[in-house]
């Protein structure tokens, strides 16, 4: 039976467990992730939060009805280094994805690997047609990253949040199933 691929020599995706709370707390509260934690809106996006909240976030993710959030772990010691989320709300044709890698583990290709797994899964194992990804206007590395992976800009949602004394916009990027497949075949 064909299975989705969620592992490489270096990292793997797996469901979150309650015991992941300390690891999740450790990287979500990293100052570089303030404002781009990609956690449900009811949780704090910028300020520090207590350890208990990390457990609540995991519970929330594991209870998602139309989507999932998986833990990104290192193969070497199993440590938690990020999360990968996909949610499709009211229409399974158009899931939105987000990938967060803890700052000390960024720029090693993990984000690209995880997002590729997510796209392969959504296009090969679900009815997804259009996968989108919202990125803050100030997050230049993520904007460049989305473009490198073949996403194109669908528009700009104005004033999504307030940070550092000004409202900022969210750039919405998208990729269609045939575009992703063509890109994979070309590779």
């Amino acid at each position: 039976m064909v299975q989705p691929e969620f592992g490489s020599d270096t990292i793997a995706l797996r469901p979150f467990e309650p015991g992941d709370a300390p690891g999740l707390y450790a990287y979500l509260t990293h100052p570089e992730l303030a404002g781009r934690r990609y956690i449900p809106w009811k949780f704090e996006q910028t300020l520090p939060f207590p350890l208990k909240t990390a457990g609540d976030i995991i519970e929330d993710w594991n209870g998602m009805e139309n989507g999932f959030c998986l833990a990104v772990t290192l193969k070497t010691d199993g440590s938690l280094i990020g999360h990968a989320r996909a949610g499709w709300g009211w229409d399974a044709l158009m899931p939105e994805v987000a990938v967060v890698i803890a700052p000390p583990h960024q720029r090693k290709g993990f984000g690209r690997q995880v997002l590729s797994w997510l796209l392969d899964y959504l296009f090969d194992f679900t009815v997804a047609r259009n996968v989108s990804n919202g990125i803050e206007e100030w997050n230049a590395p993520a904007l460049a990253f989305a473009q490198r992976l073949g996403f194109s800009q669908a528009g700009v949602l104005r004033r999504v949040a307030y940070r550092g004394g000004w409202f900022y916009d969210e750039h919405l990027y998208e990729i269609l199933k045939p575009e992703w497949r063509e890109r994979n075949h070309a590779a």
Binding site: L93, A154, V156, Y162, L176
Partner: protein
């Protein structure tokens, strides 16, 4: 006191409105932006939804019926949801078919926008529709909304893939198009 427009008012839902809300729900054109729900909702389901609304001071959504001022006829409903205090909110509207093209939707939309900007003090109002719903896009544009994003082929409607369209209206854009009003909320 209800929110008064030129031709309509927005007021709370009453039990006597439930048959119209049911009719809106069971019409694929008016049931909401998903437009993928079965048309088998019953009056009991709608009544249960109505009865389960509880009193709270913590409200991030609301639903009004749209009633004509002259004849006090209920013609549709207007909602807002996903309110983030003093920041943003998303709106939705549905008018029963027999009342289309009478300017009631525009009046209702303007009435709600006035409440959202003048009383709730939001900085941006959003709405979602499909690319094939040209009437909804034109209605929003008439109030100053602009298309902020268009997800290609993201919804399926009437046997066709269509775009999912997101529109938004900034606070200063709203006041610029209403010179009779003055914005007294300082910019952030």
């Amino acid at each position: 006191m209800p929110l008064e427009g030129q031709k309509i008012r927005l007021r709370e839902v009453r039990e006597s409105d439930l048959p119209l809300l049911l009719a809106l729900r069971n019409d694929l054109e008016t049931q909401g932006w998903s437009q993928t729900l079965p048309t088998d909702y019953t009056l009991n389901m709608v009544r249960k939804q109505y009865e389960e609304e509880t009193f709270s001071f913590q409200r991030n959504r609301a639903r009004f019926v749209i009633e004509t001022i002259d004849s006090e006829e209920v013609v549709g409903n207007m909602t807002y949801y996903s309110l983030r205090s003093r920041h943003e909110v998303t709106i939705g509207i549905a008018i029963a078919r027999q009342f289309w093209s009478a300017g009631l939707a525009y009046d209702a939309q303007e009435t709600l926008l006035r409440f959202l900007f003048e009383e709730l003090g939001v900085r941006v109002v959003r709405l979602w529709t499909t690319g094939s719903n040209e009437k909804a896009i034109a209605l929003a544009e008439r109030s100053g909304f602009q298309v902020s994003a268009r997800l290609r082929e993201a919804v399926f409607r009437r046997g066709q893939l269509a775009d999912n369209v997101m529109m938004d209206l900034l606070r200063e854009e709203y006041y610029a198009s209403h010179p009779e009003m003055e914005d007294h909320l300082p910019p952030l």
